[in-house]
């Protein structure tokens, strides 16, 4: 993981990378925090203690807690099928899994309206049954699941492909059961990739705006997620409030990613060993 002492050439590379990240990623982050604290810590805390902000926070966590595990199971299954087996249509399947990345968030919301909206395919049926799907938490979850569908799979497929199937083959040949092989051989080998995928999926699930915006109905305190609440506050000219809520999202992301780094660091030795097998 860690490298040699940087030479002058590598110092230039490091500087270049830092400048790029600084201009593209760090500056907007600083802007968000700067605006959030423009009127001082008091205004910042007041904005976060507001009940609608709390409701949005609850909803966002609930949606992520449903969407992420579902997509994690999907990701593991898809990576197992794709990385450990050769089959016809494999390339097409990978492309299909990637495709939700490329669908405009607007469309990712729209499709659920086309299906479950009052004038959608299943709209009249659902109405007769008294079931509401869109403009409801269900709709928000569906849109989020669609948008975050590829994250775990996309993280695991290249990793598992590179690791090959030798270890599993050996385990099976030596008489290990399929689940034992999966839990004792495969899962430990991909745990960092999986954790990574889960964290990214989680971060994206919490931050999704466009798709959720189409299906949420924007009912204050009920179907507003954190990103939608940011938009509402921004549209109310409450810039401090909007950016304060945005810092929560940025903070959540930084904390989870920090956690990942800490875990990696603690188990660096073990990790290196597993890489060098």
């Amino acid at each position: 993981m860690t490298g040699r002492r940087p030479s002058p050439g590598s110092l230039a590379l490091i500087t270049g990378a830092l400048v790029v990240l600084g201009l593209i990623v760090v500056l907007p982050l600083i802007m968000v925090f700067h605006e959030a604290f423009r009127l001082g810590a008091g205004a910042y805390i007041a904005a976060l203690k507001e009940p609608d902000a709390w409701a949005a926070m609850h909803l966002t966590m609930l949606v992520a807690a449903i969407a992420v595990p579902l997509n994690a199971v999907f990701g593991l299954a898809a990576a197992w099928a794709i990385a450990k087996f050769e089959f016809r249509g494999r390339s097409l399947l990978i492309t299909l899994i990637d495709l939700p990345f490329s669908i405009s968030p607007v469309v990712s919301g729209l499709v659920w309206v086309l299906l479950f909206g009052a004038n959608g395919w299943f709209g009249p049926l659902l109405q007769d049954l008294g079931i509401r799907v869109i403009f409801n938490i269900t709709g928000v979850v569906l849109a989020t699941v669609l948008v975050t569908l590829p994250f775990v799979a996309r993280e695991l497929i290249p990793l598992m492909e590179q690791q090959g199937a030798d270890e599993e083959t050996a385990a099976i040949t030596l008489g290990a059961g399929p689940w034992t092989t999966f839990f004792r051989v495969t899962l430990p080998n991909v745990k960092w990739g999986l954790l990574y995928g889960v964290l990214l999926c989680n971060a994206r699930a919490m931050g999704e705006f466009g798709a959720v915006s189409v299906v949420s109905g924007h009912i204050r305190g009920l179907t507003n997620t954190l990103p939608l609440h940011v938009e509402i506050l921004y549209n109310e000219y409450d810039f401090v409030g909007a950016f304060a809520v945005a810092t929560v999202l940025a903070g959540l992301a930084l904390v989870t990613l920090g956690l990942k780094s800490a875990l990696e660091w603690r188990h660096a030795g073990e990790l290196a060993a597993s890489r060098r097998h």
């Binding site: 999907f74 898809a78 299909l96 495709l99 669908i103 729209l110 492909e161 590179q162």
Partner: protein
Amino acid sequence: MSRALSLAVAAKARKPWRKDSVLPGFPLALGITLTWLSLIFLLPLSALLLRPWELGLSGFWTVVTDPRVIAALRISFGAAALAATINAGLGLLIAWVLSRYAFPGRRFVDALVDLPFALPTAVAGIALTAIYAPNGPLGAPLAELGIRIAYTPLGILLALIFVGLPFVVRTVQPVLEDLDREVEEAARTLGATPRQTAWRVVLPALAPALLTGVGLAFARAAGEYGSVIFIAGNMPLRSEIAPLLIVIKLEQFDYAGAAAVGLAMLALSFTGLLLLNSLQGALARRGRA
């Protein structure tokens, strides 16, 4: 010599997979994959695929060949392709630095890379606009130099670079870390210059991952809406993106027209991704052979 080396690298990095009948779980794994993919993606997708034909073939054609739709598609996909290309360079640089050098704060920087995934796109758009608007902290000095970023197509490019950057870094980085240092060191010991090592040993091994990352960054950027509408200026024919046209059509209750533009975008993305994935597959197979 170096060709033999790269083959050795490939052989070590991608062990050939042969015994297809020994491993269990293929039906279950593929079953879960296809079921979930169908429910969450293919079923909604079919709604999108079937809706535009309400207009008839000629109606669909009229919608997608409207000069404004074509201009918007060109802007969305052109800017996405350019942003992905730029991200290939920037992402490779960042991934290289993060996996090869130790410097203070490296872990923090590493965590920052994922921020564009996590920050709501609307927030990113607002923040970028505030920074690069003519009265913003960077926009003001740039405006004095005669460079305008916010409210021009350059603004779109900036927002798309922002959303796509982590895709490249995160697909390249693990491969770069997994790539055996010993092989590189062997190459160096055998007399290869650092540049030769990079071009002949590292880059070929990285190419599939880099292509994947670029493909994802491209696909993600082509459909991006939230961050772009704040910074683009949204002028028809000049800085109006395709997803905005979808929104505009929806505002007129023109579901079929909106779905038609959505379908056109999807077809373009799918073609682009399929090409990249096949290219990547071919590279991987060549590497494995």
